[in-house]
Amino acid sequence: MIATGPMQSHTPTNAPVERAARKTGEVILALENISLAFGGVQALSNISFDVREHEIRAIIGPNGAGKSSMLNVINGVYHPQQGTIYFKGEKRHRMVPHKVASQGVARTFQNIALFKGMSVLDNLMTGRTLMMKTGILQQAMYWGATQREEMAHRVRVEEIIEFLEIQSIRKTPVGRLPYGLQKRVELGRALAAEPTLLLLDEPMAGMNVEEKQDMCRFVLDVNEEFGTTIVLIEHDMGVVMDISDRVVVLDYGRKIGDGVPDEVRNNQAVIDAYLGVQH
């Protein structure tokens, strides 16, 4: 299978990356022998890898390799038949998605999962749900505790709006936005949760060069300014090689490569399955 971009032509990113200088900490997420099947289809077979704190970990591989399924397992949407997940040092038992979210995991989706009936601002505010403490009776009366809480969260959300440069569209219903902006809003919603671990599922799919540059900049900024650990599924090899610290390669539900970008780039199995040969 040939990758979506030959090795030479990178998508240029504006942020120079000193990979050696970036601090990476302890293992924050470890997956051991994860196997996942749906009916007769084996989506993931015996996958093991880890993610270090503060790093940018890319997951790459051909379509259907199980990358999104892997994220869904991390989110608790799918429960693997076999294998163990360790998060922040502790073994994680079977957990429902909202519980996973409360542990500090946020996500964007391949086919944008924004709440189409709401504005940009409201979508971002939903990202703050776990941090909102007022009860339903207080919310019915609004003025008082709820209003103070809403304002406090609005301040934080506005910081994200400024960071992502989407001030002008904050009241627009997201359904009306162009694709690139929707992707940005989705990133904003994930950031609003102030996550420790951020899962990005093809955040740059369908974008032109400029939009990709912007998105890369945001991803890098998030990683550098907030220290957020990022797991990233991406097809654009240029982006992957430039911004990731380490890469995992999946093919037909199996892991066929794991290491720093240079290692993976030269791994024969990976080249055969995914990257292809230069002509």
Partner: protein, 298 residues
């Protein structure tokens, strides 16, 4: 033992009639993905038409005319409603059928009159006693119901074959799956919808005639037809055999509940038993006995 079997038999017969109406639901859902709430009203309309027509002309002619009316209805529904709502969500189409229901409930009685009308199909009305040697006093059954059951059975077999074996049947199933995809392979959506609503109208006519012959043609026919909703829940929205099995289960279950539970907790259980049964089913097996599972992809 004898009385119990009588109750069961009575329930089975009623169930067959529910199945007939449910069949109309399933056909339309299978072929257009629309849950046709107006099926009950269609039964009423067809029955009214047949009853009134047969007052002034021989029955076969009345039958034909009533069938023509149902086909005309199918054309009208397709042109005025379905065509304008292509690719809308299922819930919008479902609600549109509410609109059709209200319209038919006004249109039918306005055109054909408000009173209770008789349909005389020449069916034997007196109950017969059979199997006197097996059970003491024999079993009381209704020949009319038996004949109805046979007719329904034949109709179902015919329709099942039609869906499975013919090219039109295949096209109908394609449309139910995905409007756009079906269009893209050249299936003419409009024709399909007219066909399917016409067939459903025909089934409604048969159901209307039988029910009407049994109970007289009156407005309450609509409510009886609403009972077919739990039937399709039980059987699965897309399954013709499901409509049969579901109808029988509901019919028998209702009768047993009324006869045996009724004296304990009060009569009138028949009004809600079918729905509660459907509800219980939904909690255990949402897709029904024979339906297809719905999977959400993330």
């Amino acid at each position: 033992m004898g009385p119990f079997i009588e109750v069961v038999l009575g329930g089975l017969m009623a169930g067959v009639l529910y199945s007939l109406v449910a069949l109309g639901f399933v056909l339309i859902y299978k072929a257009s993905g629309v849950f046709n709430f107006s099926q009950g009203a269609m039964v009423l309309l067809a029955a009214l038409a047949f009853a009134r027509f047969s007052e002034v002309m021989p029955m076969p002619v009345a039958f034909l005319l009533a069938a023509v009316l149902m086909v005309a209805l199918a054309f009208a529904v397709e042109w005025l409603v379905l065509r304008r709502l292509v690719n809308q969500e299922g819930i919008i189409l479902f609600l549109a059928t509410f609109g059709i229901t209200y319209f038919i409930e006004g249109f039918g009685p306005q055109l054909f009159g408000d009173s209770i009308y008789r349909i005389d199909l020449g069916m034997p009305k007196e109950p017969k006693i059979i199997l006197e040697n097996m059970f003491e006093g024999g079993l009381l059954i209704n020949l009319e119901d038996l004949i109805a059951a046979v007719i329904a059975g034949l109709l179902v077999a015919f329709l099942a074959l039609f869906f499975q074996k013919t090219a039109t049947g295949r096209a109908l199933r394609a449309v139910a799956d995905d409007h756009q995809a079906a269009q893209s392979v050249g299936i003419p959506l409009n024709h399909i919808w007219v066909i399917v609503w016409s067939v459903s109208g025909f089934v409604a006519l048969v159901a209307g005639m039988i029910w009407g012959s049994k109970l007289g043609v009156q407005f309450s026919l609509v409510l009886i037809a609403l009972k077919a909703i739990p039937v399709v829940i039980l059987g699965g929205f897309t399954s013709i055999p499901g409509a049969i099995v579901g109808g029988l289960i509901i019919g028998v279950g209702e009768k047993i509940a009324e006869v045996y539970l009724g004296p304990i907790i009060g009569g009138g259980i028949e009004n809600w038993f079918a729905y509660m049964l459907a509800l219980a089913f939904l909690l255990i097996r949402p897709e029904g006995l024979f339906g297809e599972r719905h999977i959400d992809r993330v």
